[in-house]
């Protein structure tokens, strides 16, 4: 019974490893999807989930944080960053058959990987990833696993076998509760992620990363990746560019340009 084990809290965090957002992105000319062949790093959005998980385990007084990630080419650099922050171990799904997976296939794969983690009380993900930003994966994972879920968390606490979340809304926020185990997606600002310490970075090198193929998860290659995607990019078109405007150096009178511009539009 999750949560019944007073004093322990086992949290699974989905962490995506992505191309450095500082590098200009590019689309693969044949597949028309985002190129993902260089070094990958931990998606900053997921650092919040990792930090939140570490704090919840800490507050409970026991338990551990397990990472789950799906990435091509056995990529672990992003996982090492999260392990260095303090996560105990990781499950990495890496398989050539996964290339081209859409959000639904990704969720099926991650859900299957999460099932390998025993005794998970809570599953965290980010509200949206920095490179894909479909924002649907966490909710899809919850449905595949048959669990309740709360999205857009800006605060999380655990009370016995219940998770309490402050969920962002259009007007402010709602207090939402759900029985554990549950899936919760977090926003930036839920907590301030720690920087890995030198000790943490050294320790991360020997932490276990369980690398699995989709066959190990009991999934069929025809349901994931390009084979399983039921949507197709038919075209990439250059968007209409805005016409170049007037750019002026402020010589102390630059504000008059703005006043004239607003007058012209009858805003003032």
């Amino acid at each position: 019974m999750p949560g019944a084990n007073f004093g322990t809290m086992n949290v699974v965090v989905c962490v995506k490893q992505i191309p450095d957002p500082a590098d200009p992105g590019a689309l693969d000319p044949t597949t028309k999807t985002l190129k993902r062949d260089g070094k990958l790093i931990l998606d900053e959005s997921d650092a919040y989930g990792v930090e939140m998980a570490l704090q919840l385990v800490d507050t409970a007084g026991g338990g551990e944080v397990t990472l789950v990630s799906m990435a091509p080419n056995s990529e672990v650099s992003g996982l090492r960053t999260a392990l260095a922050m303090g996560a105990a171990k990781a499950v990495l799904v890496s398989d050539d058959a996964l290339k081209g997976s859409d959000a639904l296939s990704t969720a099926k794969v991650l859900a299957a990987a999460i099932k390998r983690v025993e005794g998970a009380d809570l599953i965290l993900a980010a509200t949206e990833s920095s490179d894909g930003y479909t924002g649907t994966v966490p909710e899809q994972i919850a449905e595949v696993l048959g669990l309740p879920s709360i999205t857009f968390a800006k605060g999380i606490s655990i009370d016995g076998s219940t998770v309490k979340v402050d969920r962002q809304t259009e007007a402010g926020y709602d207090e939402v509760t759900a029985p554990l185990p549950a899936v919760v997606s977090v926003t930036a600002g839920v907590v301030e992620p720690r920087y890995p310490s030198f000790k943490g970075i050294m320790a991360a090198k020997s932490k276990p990363v369980d690398e699995v193929k989709i066959a190990d998860l009991g999934l069929d290659a025809s349901n994931v990746g390009w084979a399983g995607a039921r949507q197709e990019i038919v075209e990439v078109a250059t968007a209409e560019a805005r016409e170049a405007g007037e750019i002026v150096e402020d010589d102390g009178e630059g504000y008059t340009k703005i006043v004239a511009f607003l007058e012209n539009l009858k805003i003032i």
């Binding site: 649907t136 449905e143 939402v176 197709e232």
Partner: protein, 322 residues
């Protein structure tokens, strides 16, 4: 027509239908002969007139959700209707807190993918395609479904103009929520509404937004002051929201609000792609930035290369004198 029946996931607050819902109804009318709404809430009767006026002939309503978050019950109810053969060919949901939840749940139940971040939908070779901006809106990716399942589109706010069609109130039809088993349980126990004064980012004709270039939280007051003088809504880049200078509700961009005012004034904002997708659709853009290479200038109609702390006080003074 590529599709004959489209459902629009309707959202409302205190009986007032959300703009995003009305925007989607307008687009749905262009694309299909039958447009209907799906609503998860107790007050379907109160929203039926407005939904009808915007072109929905029927509103399929679940009734009171008993405090449950919408994703599970509404997703399950739509899936049950589809399984029973009463569903639509395509369903439009807004990229909103609840819209995404419903889309995610529905997608798994129907084993159908979702096309996300859509800013336009068109008909091509007899099927619907979704158009999604990438790289800050410099390019558009056009995606179609390749299966014959219900086509689920998640649509960004402000993509279409809402337009009344003058229809009669929508007929309210009961949409049964099936037993949802172990997925049930996420329940709203309390609501907190943050009071706001002045025009909102959604409706304001002028938006004045500040970024990290404002220097610190106190200097953001220049943005508020200018906004007040122009009857504008104040906005922000994510950098200063994350830094805690202003609340999240101020954020403009990919993970914040999409705005399309007549005039958008960006002060001390670099113009990262994630910011640009939230404001590039503004009619006129004015940027103040001390870096002549700042990407914000590539979308500006009027760019002032200068220090916000010099330009803005003078601008405020000039406007106060009028």
């Amino acid at each position: 027509m590529a599709v004959s029946k489209i459902w629009v996931f309707a959202e409302a607050t205190n009986g007032k239908v959300a703009n995003i819902t009305l925007e989607m109804l307008a687009k749905a009318r262009e694309l299909a002969g039958t447009v209907e709404a799906v609503y998860g809430g107790a007050d379907a009767d109160a929203v039926a007139a407005e939904l009808g006026a915007h072109g929905a002939t029927t509103v399929h309503a679940t009734g009171d959700l008993g405090g449950a978050l919408a994703g599970v019950p509404v997703g399950a109810a739509i899936a049950a209707a589809v399984d029973a053969g009463n569903g639509p060919d395509a369903i439009f949901l807004g990229t909103t807190y609840d819209g995404r939840d419903v889309a995610g749940r529905l997608s798994v139940r129907l084993d159908a993918p979702v096309i996300t971040n859509v800013v336009d939908i068109a008909e091509r070779d007899g099927s619907l395609v979704g158009i999604e901006p990438v790289f800050g809106g410099t390019q558009n990716v056009i995606t179609k479904f390749t299966s014959d399942k219900t086509q689920i589109f998640l649509i960004r706010p402000k993509s279409f103009a809402a337009e009344e069609a003058g229809g009669a109130p929508a007929a309210v039809a009961a949409l049964a929520v099936p037993e949802v088993g172990s997925t049930a349980g996420a329940t709203i126990v309390n609501r907190h509404v943050e009071e706001k004064t002045g025009p909102s980012l959604d409706d304001a004709a002028v938006v004045v937004a500040g970024g990290r270039g404002m220097g610190d939280a106190e200097k953001y007051q220049l943005v508020e002051d200018l906004a007040k003088l122009l009857h504008a809504a104040p906005g922000a880049s994510r950098a200063i929201v994350d830094a805690g200078w202003v609340p999240y509700s101020y954020q403009v961009g990919q993970t914040g609000k999409v705005v399309k005012p007549t005039v958008y004034i960006a002060a001390g904002i670099s113009g990262a792609t994630q910011h640009l997708v939230g404001m590039k659709g503004s009619k006129h853009i004015i940027a103040i930035n001390k870096d002549p290479e700042a990407p914000i200038f590539s979308v500006a109609d009027l760019g002032i290369v200068g220090d916000v702390h010099k330009v803005m006080p003078k601008l405020i003074e000039a406007l106060q004198g009028r």
